[in-house]
C-alpha cells in the first residue's frame, strides 16, 4: 500500500515538474478515452452507409461522412482503438524480444552474445519498412494479429542493442557479484537483480516502441498492406487516398486521422523525452 502511495506521489511530482510530460500525458489520455468510451457515447456503426455521401461536418455527423456515406467520426473512434491496440501489442512483443535478446546476449557474453549481436545487426541494417512491406505482401489476409506480429518482429532490434549496452555497464557493478555469492543462478540474477535496475529505461523504450508501431502501421496501411477487415487510423487514411478525398476537398475525411496519428505519436515522444530527463538512470543511482 505504501508503495502505491509512493508511486502516486512520484507521478504527481513528475507531472508537476515537467510541462512536457503534462502535455504528452494529456493528449495521449484524450485518445485513450476516445477509444475506450467513445463507442458508448457515440454509438454509430462506422461501417454502415447512411446514403449521404461526402457530407461536410454537421451536428448529426460531427466529422461528416465519407464517399460511401459512412460516419467519419465513428470511424475515427474505432480507428483510434485499433491503432492503439496494434501499437500497444506490437510494442509488447518488440519489448519482450528486445529485453530477452539484448539482455541474454549482454549478460552472458561469449558466443551467445556474438550470435545475438549479429542477428540484431542484420535486422538493424535491413530497412525496417522494406522488410515490413515484403513480409506483409506475403500474406493475402492480414488479421490484426498478423500485423501486430509483423510490427513486433521488426521493431525490437534498436531496443535490443540499447538494452545490451545498459546490461554491459550494470553487470560489472558489484551487486551482481554479491548476488552470486548468495548462490543465485545467472538467469535469476539477470531477471531479479539486473533488469529491475533498467525499469525506467524499459518503460521509456516501451513507450517509444508504441509510437514507432503506430506510425509503421499507418505507413503500411497507406500503401495498402495494412490489416484487412478492421478500421485503423491508417486504414481510414488509405480509403481517403484511394477515393481521392483531397481532390473532392473532403478535408474532414483525411485531416482527422492524419492529425490523430501525428498527435498520438508526438504525445508518446514527449512522454518518452520527459521521462528520460526525469529518470535518467545515471541521475537516479548517483547519490
Amino acid at each position: 500500500m505504501e508503495g502505491a502511495r509512493g508511486l502516486m506521489a512520484e507521478a504527481i511530482y513528475a507531472l508537476r515538474s515537467s510541462p512536457r510530460l503534462m502535455i504528452g500525458v494529456s493528449i495521449f489520455s484524450f485518445y485513450v478515452m476516445l477509444a475506450m468510451i467513445g463507442p458508448l457515447l457515440y454509438p454509430v456503426d462506422p461501417r454502415k452507409p447512411i446514403f449521404e455521401h461526402l457530407q461536410p461536418p454537421s451536428p448529426q455527423h460531427p466529422l461528416g461522412t465519407d464517399v460511401l456515406g459512412r460516419d467519419v467520426f465513428a470511424q475515427l473512434i474505432h480507428g483510434t482503438y485499433y491503432s492503439l491496440k496494434i501499437g500497444f501489442m506490437a510494442a509488447v512483443i518488440a519489448s519482450i524480444l528486445g529485453i530477452v535478446i539484448g539482455g541474454v546476449g549482454g549478460y552472458f557474453g561469449g558466443v551467445i552474445d556474438d550470435l545475438l549481436t549479429l542477428i540484431t545487426n542484420i535486422f538493424l541494417c535491413v530497412p525496417t519498412i522494406a522488410l515490413l512491406v515484403i513480409l506483409a505482401a506475403y500474406f493475402r489476409v492480414r488479421s490484426e494479429w498478423i500485423v501486430i506480429l509483423l510490427l513486433g518482429i521488426t521493431t525490437w532490434p534498436s531496443m535490443a542493442r540499447s538494452i545490451r549496452s545498459q546490461i554491459l555497464s550494470l553487470k560489472v557493478r558489484e551487486f551482481v557479484d554479491t548476488a552470486k555469492l548468495c548462490g543465485m543462478s545467472s538467469l535469476k540474477i539477470l531477471f531479479r537483480e539486473v533488469l529491475p535496475n533498467m525499469l525506467a529505461y524499459i518503460v521509456m523504450y516501451f513507450i517509444l516502441n508504441i509510437a514507432i508501431a503506430i506510425v509503421s502501421e499507418a505507413g503500411l496501411s497507406a500503401i495498402g498492406l495494412g490489416p484487412t477487415g478492421i478500421i485503423s487510423l491508417g486504414m481510414i487514411l488509405r480509403w481517403a487516398i484511394v477515393w481521392e478525398a483531397v481532390r473532392y476537398g473532403a478535408w474532414w475525411w483525411f485531416i482527422p486521422p492524419g492529425l490523430s496519428i501525428t498527435l498520438i505519436s508526438l504525445s508518446l515522444l514527449m512522454i518518452n523525452d520527459a521521462l528520460d530527463k526525469l529518470y535518467n538512470p545515471r541521475a537516479r543511482t548517483t547519490r
Binding site: E174, F175, D177, L181, G183, N197, R284
Partner: protein, 266 residues
Amino acid sequence: MSILLRVEKLTKIFTAGGIFGSKMRVVAVNGISFECREGEILGIIGESGSGKTTTMKTILKLYKPTRGKIYFRGRDIWTIPNKEYYRHVQGVFQDPYSSINPVYRVRHLFDNIFDNLLEDVSLDERHEILSEVLDRVQLKAEEVLYKYSYELSGGQLQRVLLAACLLVDPELIIADEPTSMIDASMRVTILNVMRSLREEEGKSIIFITHDIGQAFYICDRLLVMRKGKIVEEGSAEEVVFHPQHPYTKRLIADVPKLGKKLILRR
C-alpha cells in the same frame, strides 16, 4: 593447523579491445602462490592497483584464472558447485555502495541469502536471526533493513555487508577493505568482531587492506603485494618489524605514527 585454501601459481590477465584496435592487456595477478590455514587471519597489503581485489575475486570464483589453480580443503574450487562453495566461502567487496542493489531495500540482500543458501530457516525465524547478526556489527535492524543503500552511510553499509557474511556463517571470509568507510572509533569494534570470529569460532579470514596499522592489529600473517606479485610473506611481526624487501621497508616507514613529526625526505 590444516590448510583451508591453497592458491597455486595464480595468474589473471585482463584483455580488452577486440579484433580492431590495439588489444589492451593487463597482468593483474602474476603467478602468486600462498595458502590460508584454518583459524588464521591472513592479511594482504599493498598499494592500490597491486592486484588485491583481483586475487579476491578469483578466489570467489567471480573471475576465471588465466593460469593456476585454487584449492579449498584440497578440492579444486571449480569442481565445487556454487551453492556449496558459497556456504563455506564468503566475501565483502570494497565499494559498499556498488555492492548493494540500488532498486531494493537492504532487507532484499538478506532474503536472497535465506532463499538460496539457508533454505531451512523458516520465514518467522528470519527477523530474529537478522537482529542478532546486525547487533554484532552494532546496527539496529529497524535502522537499516528497510532502507535503500543510498539512504545509508558508507560505514553503515560496510557493516551491513559484514553482517550478511555472518549470516551465512562460512568457514572463510574474504574482506576487501571492509572498514574503509567506518569511523576510527567504530572501526576498532568491527575489527574486534573479526578477531573474535577467529578466536572463538575458529574461522579463517583473508583481510585485504592498504592500512598496515589495521592489518597489524588483527592479522596473524601478512602478504605484501606489488604489481601482481607477492614480494614478502611472513608473520605480522616479522613483516612489520623486520621487513626484508625494499618495497616493504618503504611502505612500513611511510606509515604515520601518532605524533611523530614528518621527517622531510629530499
